[in-house]
């Protein structure tokens, strides 16, 4: 527990000093995945909270059709997808970061975004339509911070120059699309096979 508190203290140091911080995370400090996993779970939870508890004025979600498990998964899938595709790209591009490094960078970077998002959810219940733009601008601060941290962190752990990092990020994006494409292909194939087996079983039973 005490180590967790120390870890979180260090995490907030990383948020303000990303280059030094992420370098220490990668090379000198002992690796512990509890805190990153907790952050990731909180991220999924924030997705659910945002769906349900965003103020009525800004909330265009059909609450009667809410499925919190699906929300949890759909919030996390982009990040996991990014992790996998970034790892698979950077291994080809001579990146030095491991999957674990990317995981830590991404989850630590998520923290400001989550903080701003949660404050945004709370504030959205106290605003009127005219103030929505201000709230949006406020929440965007967290998102920009998140992008900045991810960019810095990836630079550090892969030991890339910024330009190489941009290139790998573009390739990461493309490869993410390919992963999604293959996944859809796979699911369609599986559903075809299941459909085939199902019809064979029906055929056999009604023979």
């Amino acid at each position: 527990m005490a180590s967790m508190i120390a870890e979180s203290k260090y995490m907030f140091h990383v948020l303000l000093h990303p280059f030094d911080g992420f370098y220490a995370v990668k090379s000198t400090r002992s690796r512990n995945y509890t805190l990153p996993t907790i952050i990731l779970l909180i991220c999924g939870l924030t997705g659910i909270l945002g769906y349900q508890y965003t103020g009525f004025i800004l909330n265009y979600n059909p609450l009667f059709a809410m499925n919190s498990i699906m929300l949890f998964i759909t919030t996390l899938i982009p990040f996991l997808l990014f992790m996998i595709s970034n790892w698979s790209v950077t291994t080809l591009f001579d990146g030095n970061g491991t999957m674990g490094d990317i995981y830590v960078v991404m989850t630590y970077a998520l923290v400001p975004k989550l903080i701003f998002d949660i404050i945004g959810i709370i504030l959205s219940n106290t605003i009127i339509q005219e103030e929505a733009a201000l709230l949006h601008a406020f929440v965007v601060i967290g998102t920009i911070w998140f992008y900045f941290l991810v960019f810095c962190g990836l630079c550090v752990i892969h030991e890339y120059s910024p330009l190489t990092n941009v290139v790998t990020l573009i390739v990461t994006f493309i490869s993410a699309i390919m992963i999604v494409f293959l996944a859809i292909l796979y699911f369609m194939l599986v559903s075809k096979v299941i459909g085939f087996v199902y019809s064979v079983v029906i055929e056999w039973m009604k023979r």
Partner: protein, 485 residues
């Protein structure tokens, strides 16, 4: 062990496949309405069939078809283009007379001296009775003219042929005609891409009227933008979609409909410049049915529009034989009617008109005119709109509350009730109803009032933390300076 995990994994993946969905509930229920989320919800019909005009109503005279209907203060005019006739009924649907041969004031049939032919209607398509001028205008489509008769004895007054100064390529085949208080005539020609023809009261051409924008295809737009002018000449031209029906509202503005699939809008309310100023503040734009299933299922095609004195307009849909009722803000109020062969069903709907609070819907193929009267629910809903349109907020709020007792799926009434509470500064009640009515704009207004009151009442509790923080800041500064000095 490895296989076991593979099987479990495959099972989980299989469970994640989307289930097949069925839309049966959306198609078989004819009395439905659309909620904020675009789902169809069951609803009471606002109108019910009470009476009809068919072949038997006219005695021995055959009724070929009914193509247009106009309701004046004491008469109903039905146009029969198959038999080239205009039939006149009183407001109780009792047959008065029919006009086929045009007579003069003395009651003699008019004969054209040149051709020695009787002056006779030739497949008329529309009729309009002008109360202000006491004149009956018949759009005599095949004869390419508008015949003007006296409103009291139906004697021939004049006929308006194609004006000599008319420009453009539109053929002068008037299909629908309306006349405003000053005698300015607006004519719809089916298939004309130049707009509504407007004629001065003396029959001279004034202008083409009304802007009907076609949908823009992104691919076409791209190719057109890089094509040379020679290439452009060879390309297929995109014409403005044509209007197919027009009517006036109580303020004298022209409403028009189009069922051309290439048009951006389906319903128009024109200002004097010919721009569309129709309010579409409802949950959905004024397009009739939201969903169409499969390739064979077409979207709603409006053949006629009827606008009441209090802004509620009824749209007649050819695709599914439905009548869509909208209020002047563009909220969908009700949907009723259906396609079919039963009594009250429509096959080829042609026209719709208000007769007081009643609606007359005509069908070409069945050659009938149906008279619909409001149901209990429909009457209250109409009353609520009437009160709201006339600025009687209090009464409107009560009527909206009544409609909710009849039909809890009538979502716009929640907004109506909430609006009444908002006017009376009862913010919490207003917010409750606006949330039910999914009306975020009004909710924001009510919440603004509620928040102001909240801050006023709890000002002390809100200001104390600020004061404490400010005090702590000053105190720490004070101590810091003191220690240093």
């Amino acid at each position: 062990m490895k296989y076991k995990w593979a099987i479990i994994f495959a099972f989980i993946l299989g469970m994640m496949l989307p289930s097949a969905s069925a839309f049966a509930a959306n198609t078989f229920e004819s009395n439905y309405t659309y909620d904020f989320w675009g789902n169809s919800q069951k609803s009471l019909p606002a109108f019910e069939l009470v009476n009809q005009v068919d072949g038997s109503s006219l005695g021995d005279i055959p009724l070929g078809s009914v193509d247009d209907v106009f309701v004046s203060s004491d008469r109903i005019f039905l146009v029969d283009s198959t038999e080239s006739r205009v039939d006149v009924f009183d407001r109780d649907l009792k047959f008065l007379l029919s006009i086929k041969l045009i007579r003069d004031d003395a009651g003699k049939i008019i004969v054209n001296p040149d051709t020695n032919q009787q002056l006779m209607l030739n497949k008329p398509g529309g009729v309009y009775f002008s109360e202000a001028l006491n004149e009956l205008y018949i759009a005599d489509t095949e004869a390419e003219r508008i015949v003007v008769l006296s409103g009291s004895n139906y004697a021939f007054k004049r006929s308006i042929e194609k004006p000599a100064n008319m420009v453009g390529v539109t053929q002068f085949k008037p299909s629908k005609v309306i006349v405003d208080k000053d005698g300015q005539i607006s004519v719809v020609v089916q298939g004309s891409y130049e707009g509504i023809i407007q004629l001065n009261s003396d029959g001279t051409f004034a202008r083409y009227f009304g802007l009907n924008k076609p949908k823009v295809n992104v691919v076409d737009y791209f190719w057109k933008s890089i094509a040379s002018s020679q290439q452009k000449q060879k390309m297929k031209k995109i014409f403005a979609p044509s209007f197919n029906n027009i009517t006036f509202d109580s303020e004298g503005l022209i409403y028009a409909t189009t069922f051309d699939a290439s048009a951006q809008n389906k319903v128009f309310r024109f200002n004097s410049k010919g721009e569309n100023v129709l309010l579409q503040n409802g949950y959905w734009p004024v397009i009739g049915d939201l969903h169409s299933f499969g390739i064979t299922d077409k979207k709603s095609q409006f053949v006629d529009i009827a606008v009441s004195d209090f802004g509620v307009y009824a749209l007649l849909d050819k695709t599914k034989g439905r009548v869509f009722l909208y209020n002047f803000e563009g909220d969908l109020m009700n949907i009723f009617g259906s396609n079919g062969n039963l009594k009250g069903d429509l096959k080829d709907p042609t026209a719709i008109a208000w007769a007081g609070d009643r609606l007359i819907v005509t069908d070409k193929q069945f050659s009938t005119a149906y008279l619909y009267q409001p149901t209990e629910f429909g009457q209250i809903a109409l009353d609520a709109e009437k009160q709201y349109f006339n600025g009687k907020w209090e009464a409107a709020g009560k009527d909206y509350e009544q409609t909710l007792h009849q039909n809890a799926n009538y979502d716009i009434a929640y907004t109506g009730v909430g609006r009444n509470y908002l006017m009376r500064d009862k913010y919490e009640d207003a917010m409750y109803y606006f949330e039910l009515g999914n009306s975020r704009g009004y909710y924001s207004k009510a919440y603004n009032g509620y928040r102001n009151l909240f801050i006023q009442h709890h000002f002390v509790w809100l200001i104390i933390p600020f004061l404490l923080v400010a005090f702590a800041l000053f105190y720490s500064e004070f101590r810091y300076n003191k220690r240093n000095s």
